[in-house]
Symmetry: C2
Subunit: 563 residues, 2 copies
């Protein structure tokens, strides 16, 4: 996918590749291309942004069109420039539902500056694609999804150029160029044949190269193009910050999801490139707060979370915007593969998932995120915030906005007490010791609702058993502040209890256990972990926290195991 300046760069690349291709007839002169897929080369098996002309990685299918739609959205509505975005799709990947999420989105947003080229070559990896060469079916589907479809012979450059011109004339719809092609076109004994997917030519190399060289000598291809006169204005994302400090009273009850809406508005006040995207949950995630304040910087993505993430990646490309993506944390699972690819794409997106854990209450397990920390922790370089009050939520949003990369902020449904003063400093990878004394014999670690259960339990235990407890709020689950945790764990004699509103695997408990074991230099820690051990039910938040054993009362009972 590419806007006009990208076309120029791609044309330059094409020329370079053409030169390299000619050179490849003589291996000794082949240069960079002959290093394809070697560990020393940035030319990988599938392109990634290690190549400076690649903005987004490919390799997991059906994701490109959402990203392209995000880029086109920026051009049309944010930068308001005449860049056009082109996305090539293989016909096999069009079976991916994410493509149809993007098709729906692009027509709804009238992205007439977006062109999708369906390369209908009929052949998949292991067999014919499900629709073969039925280009009319692709065209019908595109039309029904609100696109302007044009069927062409994909090997006929005049037809292609005419189609691109027609696409540019269409003022209210994106255009789908349905290109009938033959895989390996012109390659002797390979064209339109199965079993050549991802294979090197081997013994056929010389024959094919001779054929290609013969083609290169023809003058059919006119490589002239009109350079776009538009230039994207410089934007400065670095000065984004909260327009005013968090403003709450200690003890005031505020849901962290609510504080998210407040924070986002404050960020939007200092940076007009903060964009909020939501998947038809804005009245639950509180993205609505932002939409009301900045309707032009809000993108409703409807119930299509893969496209939400894809569009977000596109919006964040080349530093044009800071996209905040919100939905229920559970539904980010729908976009797990897009998030995996986002890291390979070196994307800059801020994911905010509300309604984590059993503490959401009656809606039941389908709405409860209990594996979201496992997902986001597994993404390299992803920063995972799990704020426990309104003040730290606002700071988490600010830090995420200022940080380049993938960030996840886990927010909770219930109102929880404000425990930090407005001037408390927060940093990525820096925990807060929220309760301590010199007499502490236990360390509790919780986050979100369970931090508050830890604090309550600590009070009960002090009163009832005269045992003093230290409590840590990790603030970020990744990176985890191992040093603070280990120092305090040792200070209390090694007794550590972690409690979290998440399944036992992949979350805070796993993170703390590994930190203690890997960095504790053989200190004999004692470790207890309370988490949700089965698929939960519907019920009141407090009932559920009790039933699934992550409440203060369970913590109190559990510490007997340390005694």
């Amino acid at each position: 996918m590419s806007s006009a300046d990208e076309i120029k760069r791609l044309q330059d690349l094409a020329n370079k590749l053409r030169v390299l291709s000619v050179q490849a007839t003589d291996a000794s002169k082949s240069g960079e291309l002959s290093n394809l897929r070697k560990i020393t080369s940035d030319l990988e098996g599938h392109p990634t942004p290690r190549l400076n002309f690649v903005d987004v990685a490919t390799g997991s299918l059906g994701q490109g069109l959402s990203v392209a739609a995000g880029m086109a959205y920026v051009a049309k509505y944010i930068d308001q420039l005449d860049f056009r975005t082109y996305c090539v799709l293989g016909d096999g990947e069009v079976a991916e539902g994410s493509v149809w999420e993007a098709m729906n989105f692009a027509s709804l947003k009238q992205l007439n500056n977006l062109v999708a080229i369906f390369d209908v070559n009929r052949l998949g990896q292991s067999q014919e694609t499900c629709l073969g060469h039925q280009v009319e079916v692709y065209a019908d589907r595109a039309k029904s999804f609100g696109w302007n479809p044009i069927i062409v012979d994909g090997h006929n450059i005049s037809e292609l150029l005419a189609a691109f011109a027609k696409a540019a004339e269409c003022k209210d719809k994106p255009t789908a160029i349905i290109a009938k092609t033959f895989k390996g076109k012109g390659f002797p004994n390979i064209e339109d044949k199965l079993n050549w997917h991802g294979k090197a030519l081997g013994a056929k190399s010389n024959e094919v190269l001779a054929h290609l060289n013969a083609q290169l000598s023809s003058e059919d291809v006119n490589s002239s193009y009109n350079e776009s006169k538009a230039e994207a204005p410089a934007v400065n994302l670095k000065e984004v910050k909260l327009s005013s400090p968090p403003d709450y009273k200690l003890g005031e009850k505020i849901a962290t999801r609510f504080a998210y809406g407040t924070a986002l508005v404050k960020l939007g006040q200092t940076c007009n490139r903060v964009i909020s995207l939501d998947a038809e949950t804005k009245n639950s995630t509180y993205a609505e707060t932002y939409m009301k304040q900045f309707p032009d910087r809000f993108v409703e993505c409807y119930i299509a979370e893969q496209n939400l993430v894809g569009v977000g990646i596109g919006l964040g490309c080349r530093g044009r915007t800071i996209p905040f993506l919100s939905t229920f944390a559970a539904f980010f699972m729908r976009a797990a593969d897009h998030l995996r690819m986002a890291e390979i794409s070196q994307a800059n997106i801020k994911c905010v998932g509300s309604h984590c854990g059993v503490s959401i209450g009656e809606d039941g397990p389908s709405q409860m995120a209990l594996e979201d920390l496992a997902l986001f922790r597994s993404i390299p370089n992803c920063t995972v915030f799990y704020p426990s009050d309104a003040v730290s939520t606002e700071r988490a949003c600010e830090l995420a906005a200022q940080h380049h990369g993938i960030d996840f902020i886990r927010t909770s449904r219930p109102a929880t007490s404000v425990i930090y003063t407005s001037d408390t400093k927060f940093e990525i990878g820096k925990a807060q010791v929220v309760r301590q004394s010199k007499k502490d014999k236990l360390l509790f670690i919780g986050a979100g609702v369970t931090l508050h259960e830890c604090l309550t339990a600590a009070d009960i235990i002090e009163k009832k058993h005269q045992i003093f407890t230290r409590v840590i709020d990790p603030f970020t689950i990744k990176p985890l502040d191992s040093q603070t945790i280990i120092e305090n764990a040792i200070a209390v004699g090694g007794r550590v209890l972690v409690v979290e509103d998440h399944y036992p695997e992949g979350g805070l408990g796993d993170a703390v256990a590994k930190a203690l074991l890997a960095n504790g230099n053989g200190y004999p820690f004692r470790f207890l972990h309370l988490a949700v051990n089965e698929v939960p039910r519907s019920g009141q938040p407090a009932e559920l926290m009790s039933k699934y054993r992550i409440d203060a009362e369970t913590i109190e009972k559990e510490i007997e195991k340390f005694m």
Copy 2:
């Protein structure tokens, strides 16, 4: 969704609910319905199979149609009976791409016994749906996807019955009934209004109940129905086993993905209800081996992994089949939300993911599963197999087939040595100590390719440093054999090194660390963890394992930290 006997049960339920509804006017007589969403009731916020007439949970949107397609597939092609399957979709969820994966699949497989009812009520959670009441657009989309669309007034029972009759006459296509409806139809001051999503009626209850009771007294609704005469034949899935023991020579080099194909054929020989599904990767996953042997028991799902999992859940419902779903392990991430819901649905599916880790080589990071263990470990009750040779792979497949629930088998691309004799016994949750002596001072734990690196490293270390090393193959990562690991860890003096072809979070290292810390009774273990710490590149498998520090040479260097 429901086949004929399900309709009967639903009608019975409807009658029961009608009674309950009448009773509800008097709270003291209201019975089960008044316990909706209470922690003591199986009537949850969204239905789950805790209710015995529910086969599959709902609550995450856009997943039902794939499951329904799987059920319809069983009826038409496996049981060959005249059951019909009905699936109701909300209009909002039709924005989910997974719906269009299922639409494509159902028409390709000519599932004329499947009816989708699009409930087009115009209103979403926070605003109007993207297509509002444009029923023609839904009909056009359904038609372009190969369905038979019928537009009806969804409140007109005669029109609905006529549409169902028409659907039954269609012999080559599934039918989509596009029902124009009004949310809260007939509810005074609520009908067709926003802001009533998931809300209780509160003060309006009496008025609405009076209205509903007035409706119930009418005789408009004819609740007669034709009972299906077809009865699903009894099937016995319990005797599934390998038709012959694994047959390999020690030291022979076989990729575990290849052994998967062999194992599946052997299982198919003892049980004709073993069904293989693949997402257009069958020549890489080796599902192809099964397809060649049993073409009628193979379902090509094309590149649409959400639908692959949804159809698999449908195939496995009510014990009709044992579905084995295969694709690259990385691409199961595409179906993470479906897998999350599969557990809430108490599904029986066997997921087999090939091409895990950097050891796949040149295809690059987009094709490498490096977070799949984190995903599958986070699913409650999921059994996660990570076999390290061909013998254990065959046994993993057999154990998964015999086990009811979600299973994941992680297979590798490179050929690895056979290390087990054919008669080695394997159990879920039982590790194998594959190298040991009384002089052992170190414990290495690896799986798949890294188990072989551990064995090589152990040999080198013995020769070079005269230090003896114990090596454990966990076989299942979940449940993990904590007891064997802890006993052996203590036996060697507490020095444990885990090495895995996965990112550091959520995989084998986290699992072992937590087991040691939580169950080790304060033993002062020393723990090292080698895993892939960054987004990898393309390269040769051995080069990548070296660069990302999960090879024998790195292990050897690393143990200096223990000394």
